[in-house]
């Protein structure tokens, strides 16, 4: 009886403002504690991250900066109950570490480690009053889980966004329409062409023809390993559609196999302007453009 009384007094002395009847007062007290022991707890956390081989991709200095930020954000969420700032920070952090190959389990792992480090510290702090400890943990755990959840979701969202962005960028890159000189575009086709990419390529080329007012287009298919019937059909359609936009097409890099495929699907190769290699194609393109200019100069003079 007496001893219990002393214990309570000791706790009360630790937290003079603590009103044990008021659960709402618990979190602010936790926050104060976590702020007070920030350096020590953060260090302990960093050590455990290191031991668990998480975030190996980061330098010690980066680790120090990021763990401090995460720690402060973490405590701030406990204090304000709002995850908004943490969400922003988590997105930001994700954006920085995703390109370095950090995986979802690592991010979730470090947040769970922090949760445990802080929980352990709270346990040490309140172990003298078991019922108070219970209530402290009751207040802490839901908030901590919410934080872990927020960080994980932010990371996954960000990663998906980055992946989508990269895919778009690759799509763009894989069908570059290059303006070589006035009125002349080169479209090098590199990599495997499927129906979807072939369609995209045609759309880009047609828009490019209008934008650059191209009169000649050189499509170089040296870099396309496989051209099956479907792709060959797309190729023919691209040539036709370019003509409808007023541009002539020269195809370069046509292998005997692809030529055979074109013949198989009934393409009259004599009606397609095909040249062995890109260099020859460019010369032919310039001849076509020069021819046009010469005629105009001749007739206009």
């Amino acid at each position: 009886m007496n001893q219990e009384h002393t214990l309570t007094d000791a706790v009360a002395a630790d937290f003079p403002t603590l009103d044990r009847q008021d659960e709402h007062q618990l979190l602010p007290q936790l926050v104060a504690h976590l702020r007070q022991h920030r350096t020590k707890l953060r260090q302990e956390w960093a050590t455990r991250i290191h031991d668990a081989h998480l975030l190996d991709a980061m330098t010690p200095q980066e680790m120090s900066t990021e763990t401090t930020s995460v720690y402060d954000n973490y405590v701030e969420v406990l204090e304000t109950g709002s995850v908004e700032a943490l969400q922003h920070y988590a997105r930001d952090l994700s954006e920085r570490i995703i390109p370095r190959g950090v995986e979802t389990h690592e991010v979730v792992g470090i947040v769970l480690l922090l949760r445990d480090v802080l929980a352990r510290s709270l346990f040490e702090k309140y172990q003298r009053d078991f019922s108070l400890l219970n209530r402290v943990l009751d207040a802490y755990e839901p908030a901590a889980n919410r934080i872990a959840n927020t960080v994980a979701v932010s990371f996954v969202d960000e990663r998906e966004r980055v992946i989508r962005q990269q895919q778009d960028a690759i799509k763009e890159l894989s069908t570059p329409v290059l303006p070589v000189r006035e009125r002349l575009l080169i479209l090098p086709i590199i990599g495997v062409l499927d129906s979807e990419r072939a369609k995209q390529l045609t759309e880009q080329l047609l828009t490019g023809i209008r934008t650059h007012r191209a009169k000649v287009v050189v499509i170089d298919i040296t870099g396309a390993p496989d051209v099956d019937e479907t792709v060959a059909n797309h190729l023919v359609q691209t040539v036709d559609a370019s003509r409808l936009m007023g541009a002539s097409v020269i195809i370069t890099g046509l292998s005997p196999e692809i030529a055979q495929t074109l013949v198989t699907i009934g393409v009259d190769l004599s009606k397609m302007n095909t040249i062995g290699d890109l260099q020859g194609g460019l010369e032919e393109a310039e001849r076509l453009l020069g021819y046009t200019v010469a005629r105009r100069d001749g007739s206009g003079g």
Binding site: R164, Q167, D168, E196, E203
Partner: protein
């Protein structure tokens, strides 16, 4: 009190274009001035006017305004005549409902009893009662219109089709092939106007009757506008419009009447489905018609095979002397 309910309903459910409900709402609005025994004839006259206004396809805003502002008894000169005619129509329509259906509907609409308390009385659930009320209303609308026309359906197919239209149940409409029946049956085509006028608020479906050249342009412009809303690229929109142009031209060329129905799809991903149907002579050999170079009119015969190349899914069902239905779908590219 009644007036407050009316206003609340009109304000809260601007889209509650339910013919019966609208009628009954007006009855409620006038209840203070109408003798209890007069309610039924009054409902009849009002219903007649509501139907008439729908036939005229007045825009909804005007109807709503009318509902709020003008709750006077209609004073048409031939009111007595109409009243007699309509009383008979409603009486006949009500005869097609079971006693229980009739009682439930009136309890709900006229006395404002909610579905939960109705469900308690009937030993059912509120959801089931609400669904039953919808079916009852759908049937009542159909029977009322039939009675007004002084006619019985021409075939067994009419009632199921009309009820499916009346209830706005699209799956059921497909099951009974409502679209085709409307092309073939004058009565149902006529009655479908007031029934479908209720559903005009649907903004993910478009129905374009095809009779003349100009309708082909309307159809492709309509489909372009609608499909733009689910995120198709400009190129895809043109591709879809071109396919619609081909299939609607076939209707103009080969059939007296037909329609193009455009429907936006959400599952499994965004897309658009186009159904083009006609009551033309039909295609004896669909396989051949889908072959390049096959031509039955002074053209290149590219209509069907061309449209097929443009779309992701394409199906033709044709019956000689009855007509052709082309169903085609285009899905949005992902990303």
């Amino acid at each position: 009190m009644v007036r407050r309910i009316v206003r609340a309903r009109v304000a809260d459910h601007p889209a509650a274009d339910d013919l019966v409900q609208e009628t009954l709402v007006r009855v409620l609005g006038a209840a203070e001035r109408v003798e209890p025994g007069m309610l039924e004839p009054y409902a009849i006259v009002t219903a007649r006017h509501v139907v008439a206004s729908m036939w005229k396809e007045q825009d909804r805003q005007r109807r709503n305004q009318h509902r709020v502002a003008d709750l006077r008894l209609p004073d048409a000169p031939d009111e007595d005549l109409l009243q007699g005619e309509d009383r008979a129509a409603v009486a006949q329509a009500l005869k097609h409902l079971s006693e229980r259906e009739r009682r439930t509907l009136l309890a709900h609409e006229l006395h404002g009893q909610d579905t939960r308390s109705l469900a308690d009385e009937l030993g059912s659930t509120a959801g089931a009662v609400a669904a039953q009320l919808n079916r009852t209303r759908a049937r009542l609308r159909v029977e009322y219109l039939l009675a007004l026309e002084h006619t019985e359906p021409f075939s067994d197919r009419c009632r199921p089709v009309l009820i499916a239209l009346s209830s706005g149940d699209r799956r059921r409409q497909r099951e009974v092939d409502a679209g085709r029946h409307l092309l073939e049956c004058d009565l149902c085509a006529r009655l479908s106007h007031p029934l479908l006028a209720r559903g005009q608020s649907r903004d993910d479906e478009l129905r374009i009757p095809i009779r003349a050249d100009a309708d082909v342009v309307l159809a492709r412009q309509g489909v372009r506008e609608l499909a733009a809303r689910v995120g198709f690229s400009g190129t895809d929109l043109t591709v879809i419009a071109t396919a619609v142009s081909e299939v609607s031209r076939n209707i103009v060329r080969f059939a007296d009447a037909g329609e193009v129905v455009v429907e936006l799809l959400k599952e499994p991903r965004p897309g658009v489905r186009i159904v083009a149907r006609d009551t033309g002579p039909g295609i004896p050999d669909v396989e051949r018609a889908l072959t390049d170079g096959f031509s039955t009119y002074h053209g290149l015969g590219l209509g069907l095979p061309g449209a097929r190349r443009l779309m992701d899914e394409f199906a033709v069902v044709s019956e000689v002397a009855r007509g052709t239905t082309v169903t085609m779908t285009k899905w949005c590219q992902e990303g």
